[in-house]
Structure formats: structure tokens, C-alpha cells
Amino acid sequence: MSGDRRDPPLLGVIVNPIAGMGGSVGLKGTDGAVEEAVARGAVPRAQDRAVRCLSVLARASSQIDVLSAGGAMGADAVRETGLEPVDEIDVYSLSTSEDTGRVAQQMVNAGVDLLLFVGGDGTATDVFRAVGTRVPVIGIPAGVKMQSAVFAQSPEAGGLAAVRFLTSGRRHWTLRDVLDLDERCLRESRLVPRLIGQMLVPAAPALLQNPKARSPLRAHSLARLGAAIADQVNPDRVVAVGPGSTAGSLLDHWKLPHTLLGFDLVRDRRLLVADAGASELARYASEMELVVAPIGGQGFVFGRGNQQLTSKVLGSLDPDRLQIVAEPERLEELLGQPLLIDIDDASVAASFTGYRRILTGPDTWRVFPVRTTVPTEGVLT
């Protein structure tokens, strides 16, 4: 991503042609349910969204070369805008996960400066697994569920972000979360987002979803938060540090490794157990301090992304020894909604609810409501 720049810049385009089809017919996603969606009369929408996005590129004054996946996975949409791909990558079947991943990988090998994909969280996950952080990406929202922070606000916004990024003198990008919901759970009206990993996206804050989540100094603010957490926890106790980079900032501060998607147990600033499971957490629960951050966009404290915290673990934990930590922007994103707890044991859940003090920086707390969820039908719609 450094060194000599290709001129004109090269943009990779992948369209997941079936993205979003489930949504229109009441399926909460299309992963593994294409036949069902088609049978219910679903209409493809990804192509339309792709064309809207690529039209911005077609109108741009600067030359941008496009490398696209073949046919309905990209080239059709590119041509509809009057652009001509410099090359196409053959696809064998229409957008299986394997196809998306393989094409994305080939695009990276071909030296694309930016990868634009049209789809939802499932597509984002496939792209992430194939390319990780080897190339910046922009997601064009066309799916049913788009929890990940890699999506543009609209197809046009994504197109503009791409043009800006590819033609600007200095290219800047930032790490954003890729999240996915388990669609089988979703169809049963349960929200179970998982943190899949992080991808690079252009730092074009106004154009990406959740513009408030931006901070040009996020690394710095996380370092401050890590130091602030360290001031609050008692290092003589076992400290359990939850998933995500926010809670993990404590371990960064202590220069310890952190399991991005799991719990680490620390005592006396030494790693006791890495990636602890429910049984290890249960063993220390009655004496430990717990540091967690809300995961994903909905503000879940327990019950999403940290299922290791079973009712049994939390039942033994002194509620005063729970320190919820959050970057202030994460709380703003909730736009007045409370933080949420969803665990099986209602009385255990209740012991953590009410207005709690969320640590947001050095000696700074936000008094914030924490409530339990009552699962309701159609919560996502």
C-alpha cells in the first residue's frame, strides 16, 4: 500500500448479486437461503445499488481504472454506467462465499488500490476472510443486515468516498469493525452479532456510516482510555478483560497481548489465562473485576459477542466490580437508547441494571442507563 502509486489508480469491484434478496421477502438475510428467497419472489437489488455507486465514478473527472468480477458480480453494473473494466475476473457460480473470497484475493494480487464491494455483512465477512487488512475497502450497502462499520451511508456516498480516496494526494485509512449476525438465530428474532475482525476503510468520515464513531486520534484516545481503566482496577485482583479493542486498551496499556474476540484473565499485570472460557471465568468470578465494553452498534453489554459470561459467571460477580468502559462516541451512537443486557437469568441481569457509571476517559464517567432486553418478535424490522 506504499511505494510507487499506480496511475491511474485501480479500483476493484465485487457485487454480490443476491445480497438483500432475503429482506424483501421477510427473510432476515440471504445467507444459505437463496432458493427460499427466490421462491418467495425476491427481486435482486444489488445491481441497482452498484450502478448508483459506480455512476459517481463514471461522472468523476479523474481517470480511475476498474477491475471487476465477471458478469452479474460486477462487470454488468460497471458497463451499465458507461465505464469499461480494464479486466474481468471469471466467476464460476453466482456469489458463493468462495467466489467472493477468491475474486477479492485475485484483486489484491492484481494490485487494486481500493476494493469496493456491494452487499451486506455476509459479503463483508467473505471479503475480510479473503483479504484481511491487505487493502482498504468500502462496502456499498445492499444487504439485509449491515452491522459492520465498513459501509457507506448510501451508494452515492460510497462512490464519492472511493473517488476522493483514489484521487487524493495522501491516502488515509482507518480500522473499522466487521460484524455479522448469525442469520439462523436472526430468523428466530434473536440478535447475535459477532465481531469478525477489522478491515481498513478510507478515512472519509462524513461518507461512512456512523460518522460519529470517527476520531482522527482513535489510537490516542484508546491509549488514554487504557490508562484510565488501569487507574480504576485493582491490580491485586484477577481482572477479566472482555472482547474488542476498547476493553483491550487496558491490556495494551499493560503491554500484554489481548484476545480480540475473547476474555483474558490478568493478575498483578501478568497474563493468567488467555482466551478464557466460561468455566475459567466461573472459577474466578467471585473474586474478579470485570472490564467490558459494549459490542457492536446496539450497545449490548452482556449477551452479544461475550457469551462466555453465562448467568452462572455473572451470578457470582459483585455488580460493583463490573466496570463498563466505552469511547464516548460509542455512547453517542446509541442516540438516547440504553445499554442492554441479554442473559438467561433475569434476576442476575437485574443486578447489573439501572444508571451505571461508564468510564469514558481519565477520571471521566458517563452516567448511563443499562436495561435488560425483553426479546420481541420483529425486533429488527
Binding site: Q153, H172, A203, A206, P216, R366
Partner: protein
């Protein structure tokens, strides 16, 4: 007035002054001096190499700064109601003549008080005006600026609780939308900061405030109206909640333009407050300076005021230093006198009714612009569910525009200078609404100017829907190209001084 379609900023391509001049050039040759000289500095204090100051002749220095002024969309050339939250108002130029008079300019801060009775009377009279405007019992006009005034409020809170043997109170409560200097001042005074979130109506969550107060609460500090333009009508209830646990309430009145002469801090139940002479009260804000703020308190807190403040004793005026419980001196001498002169001149020129007209006109102007702005496609207000009239400013939200066109607040701001308007203030931190943009049309703008601003926004909104890439690549007629707000993230050197920049660039090059 129509839009300035052919505006073009002067673009002098002027380098930084540190890159100008050459060794040996001089602006002034200082004549030699053969009188007594001071003892040389100690070896450890003396710098080993001279500072890398630019060396230039007078005409080159003059041209440099004239070029910079031409390249600025400054207060005296631009319709700067976009510089919202700074109370961008006209500070009468005639008042500059007053402070340049030898009667002020030639005074020495150490001269005997008998010889400056007139100035002390002026300072006393200003204090009386500020007491009348706030409803407070005593005032000290000693802050160097707004944050300094709020810091003094925090010190007074601490001194008050300490005087009662109540040293456990170590927390100050702030609404999240309160000015960042409030939380910073509380931290600087050694308090922890407890922030209260906003509800969907843009008001602070009263239940959260109730949950936050305790016997550790030293006090509470808030602005009203806040930067959304919303005036919290429950302000007395908030004060009651804080008082019920023994805390003090401080009102940050840095911007009191909407309530001048109409609502007073004391009547809202507050114990102490701070006012900016250089924003609300007619002393210049926008780089003319100097700034000054007043710290006003109830009689119960008067003993803790910083010193010295002016008191009247019969026909004579004196400076009060002798206060055993004072939080101390905030700065040398008796305050920024020139700001006080300008402020009193402004207050006296307007009179009591005139001050109320300032507030009413500012609110009217703001609501006029508001009505024009929300007619524009894709532009709404922050906290739309709150239908209360905004007072002196409005936090707009360009979320709908951004979603429909890809053009959000940052892009609109890149386009404004093409029409001769300074980029608009977006939001203080934390950002509590999407794609925020704030305008503050104070009493100083004519209807023609307000119309021009609305027209420019209408033009840019139209461009967003019809030719968004024009905006995406803007500004086109300004003296700088796009400023990349995310530069720091890309590792661009962060430098607050010329030396730091030089070092950072050298590191980058190597």
C-alpha cells in the same frame, strides 16, 4: 444581495514566516548601549544556540502579514455567522480608539491607586452592571478568558466545601453537551467529571442527574441555552436536584446573548457563574482581544472570590486583596483593563433596554435563518422531535442530505468559502447528532446578510443534488485546497510550534 458567484480569495501562496528572510536581514538595527548591564544568565539557563528566528526587513514583514490578512475570511470582511458558538458580533471600532487613548494606554499597573480612581470607578461600574445582569451579589472581572473564568468557578466550589470541612466532595457533574472547557476546568481543579447524557429531546436526562448526585458531588456546571440552541426550561429543577445533596451550581454564561437582560443566573437558582466580556458583552472576540471574563457569585460565596476586585468606599475606590478565604490571584494585577473599557462602553451605549434588544434581535435573526434553512431539501435540525424554538443558534443536521447525495457537513463546509463565507462550525465534542452544522446569526447581521447566507446554502444544496462532485472537490476559489480533517490519522506531523514542525518534517524526510 445575490450570491457572490465570482468571489475569489486572494491566493498569495505565502510561505510560513519561518521559511522567509535570510541571515543578516534586519527590520530594526538596535543602537549599541554602553550603560550598566544585567548579570549574565546562569549557564544552565542560557541557551547554547540562538533561536532560529526569521530574519527580515520591515517592508517584507509588513507585506507578509498584509497578505495573510487578505487570505483570511476574517470577521471584518466576511459574514461570519458561520463561526457559531463564538457569538460573532460587531465590536464597535470606536471603542478601539478609547483604549488607545493615553489615558488608558499610558497607565502603569503599579501606579498609586489615588491616581487611577477614574479607571477604578469604571471597573466598579462594570461590576455593578454585571451584578445586575446575573443577579449575583459580588463579581471579580479577573478571568483571562472563558475557560479561566470557569476554572475560577471550580476553585470557588472547592474552597467553599473545604471551608465547611467537606473535603470528600471530589466530583463535578456536567451535561455531555456542555462546553468542553467545563469538564477540562473541573479536571484541572482536581475533580473527577461525571457526564450526564442527553435524552432524545436534546435536554439532559434528569433521571441520570438524579442518579449521579451524591455526597461526593461538589457541584454542577452547565450552559443554557446549549449549542443546539435549546434553552432548558427545567433549569431550576436541575439546580434543585444538585442543591438537595449539598452541591453548588455554576452557570457557564460565556454566551449569554439570548438571555441578556431577560433571564438571570441567580434567578435560575445558580450560585456562581462566569460571563465573557469578549463574546456577549461587546469586547472583541475574533482575534482582536484581549479576552476577559467575569466571575460572579452569591453573597455566601463572596469570601472565596479571586482577588483583587474593586470595591467602593464612599467616593473612593480601592482594590480588595485582603480576603483570608480567597482562592487567590488568578493573574497579576487587576484584569484585562482594555476589555473592561470596551465592554462598559458597549453596555452604556446600549442601555438597559438596548441590552434586551440585543437578545431579542439575536433570537429573531436566528429564527429567521432557521426558517429559511429548514426549507432546504435535506437540511433539518438536531433533535427534531423537540419543537421548541431555538434561541440564538441552531444545530442543523445534514444527515438527510448526506444520505441522498453523499454531501455531508464537511463537504458543504469545503464549498462555503467559494462563495466568500467562512466554513461553519460543526459541533463541539462529543458529537450528539449526525452531520452537524451550526449557525449563530447574532444581532449584528442585517437582513440582507441573513438572506445572502440562506441563498448560499440553497445554492450548495442544489449543487449537492445535481453536481455533487463539484462539492466533493471544493473549494475551487479559496486560497487553500481541501483540508484533510483526518490527516493526523495518516501520520501527518502534529506540530504546535515552528520548531516542532521542523523536527517532525525532518523525521518524516529521513
Amino acid at each position: 444581495m445575490t450570491i457572490r458567484h465570482h468571489f475569489h480569495a486572494a491566493s498569495w501562496q505565502e510561505p510560513l514566516i519561518t521559511e522567509l528572510g535570510s541571515p543578516g536581514q534586519r527590520g530594526v538595527i538596535v543602537p549599541g548601549f554602553d550603560g550598566p548591564s544585567a548579570a549574565p544568565l546562569a549557564a544552565g539557563t542560557r541557551r547554547e544556540t540562538p533561536p532560529l528566528l526569521p530574519e527580515m526587513g520591515q517592508p517584507q514583514v509588513l507585506k507578509h502579514f498584509m497578505r495573510l490578512s487578505q487570505m483570511s475570511l476574517g470577521h471584518n470582511v466576511a459574514i461570519d455567522l458561520t463561526a457559531a458558538t463564538t457569538t460573532p458580533k460587531y465590536a464597535p471600532v470606536i471603542n478601539e480608539a478609547l483604549v488607545r487613548s493615553p489615558k488608558i494606554a499610558d497607565l502603569h499597573p503599579d501606579q498609586p491607586l489615588e491616581s487611577v480612581q477614574g479607571l477604578l470607578e469604571l471597573m466598579w461600574e462594570l461590576g455593578e452592571c454585571l451584578k445586575a445582569l446575573t443577579g449575583m451579589a459580588e463579581v471579580a472581572v479577573l478571568g483571562q478568558g472563558g475557560a479561566h473564568g470557569i476554572y475560577a468557578n471550580m476553585l470557588i466550589m472547592r474552597a467553599y466545601h473545604d471551608s465547611r470541612g467537606d473535603a470528600r466532595r471530589d466530583e463535578v457533574i456536567c451535561p455531555v453537551e456542555s462546553h468542553p472547557a467545563n469538564a477540562a476546568a473541573a479536571h484541572a481543579a482536581g475533580f473527577s467529571v461525571i457526564e450526564i447524557p442527553l435524552g432524545p429531546d436534546g435536554y439532559l436526562d434528569i433521571e441520570a442527574l438524579q442518579a449521579a448526585v451524591s455526597d461526593r458531588t461538589a457541584g454542577f456546571v452547565m450552559n443554557n441555552p446549549v449549542d443546539s440552541g435549546l434553552y432548558n426550561v427545567n433549569v431550576d429543577q436541575l439546580a434543585h436536584i444538585v442543591h438537595s445533596v449539598g452541591g453548588l451550581c455554576a452557570y457557564d454564561q460565556a454566551n449569554a446573548n439570548a438571555t441578556l437582560g431577560l433571564a438571570r443566573a441567580r434567578d435560575a437558582g445558580f450560585d456562581l457563574c462566569q460571563l465573557n466580556l469578549h463574546k456577549t458583552l461587546g469586547a472583541p472576540m475574533n482575534l482582536f482581544g484581549p479576552a476577559a471574563s467575569a466571575i460572579a457569585v452569591t453573597s455566601e460565596l463572596a469570601a472565596f472570590l479571586p482577588t483583587p476586585w474593586v470595591s467602593r468606599c464612599g467616593d473612593a475606590f480601592e482594590l480588595v486583596f485582603d480576603r483570608p478565604q480567597t482562592v487567590g490571584q488568578l493573574r497579576p494585577y487587576a484584569g484585562n483593563v482594555t476589555a473592561m473599557v470596551k465592554s462598559l462602553a458597549w453596555i452604556r451605549a446600549l442601555g438597559e433596554d438596548g441590552l434586551r434588544d440585543v437578545a431579542r434581535t439575536a433570537v429573531l435573526n436566528n429564527n429567521y435563518v432557521n426558517a429559511g434553512m429548514v426549507q432546504l431539501r435535506g437540511i433539518g435540525q438536531a433533535f427534531p422531535e423537540n419543537t421548541q424554538h431555538r434561541l440564538d443558534l441552531v444545530r442543523y443536521s445534514l444527515e438527510e442530505l448526506a444520505e441522498a447525495t453523499g454531501i455531508g457537513a464537511e463537504s458543504v463546509n469545503n464549498r462555503l468559502p467559494d462563495y466568500g463565507l467562512p466554513a461553519a462550525w460543526m459541533s463541539h465534542h462529543p458529537v450528539t447528532s449526525n452531520e452537524p452544522l451550526t449557525l449563530e446569526p447574532t444581532e449584528s447581521f442585517s437582513k440582507e446578510e441573513l438572506d445572502e447566507v440562506i441563498e448560499v446554502f440553497a445554492q450548495i444544496v442544489d449543487e449537492a443534488y445535481t453536481s455533487p462532485d463539484t462539492i466533493a472537490s471544493a473549494p475551487h476559489r479559496s486560497m487553500v485546497s481541501q483540508i484533510d480533517a483526518t490527516r493526523l490519522e495518516g501520520g501527518f506531523p502534529v506540530a504546535a510550534t515552528a520548531r516542532a514542525l521542523r523536527d517532525a518534517l525532518a523525521r518524516e524526510a529521513s
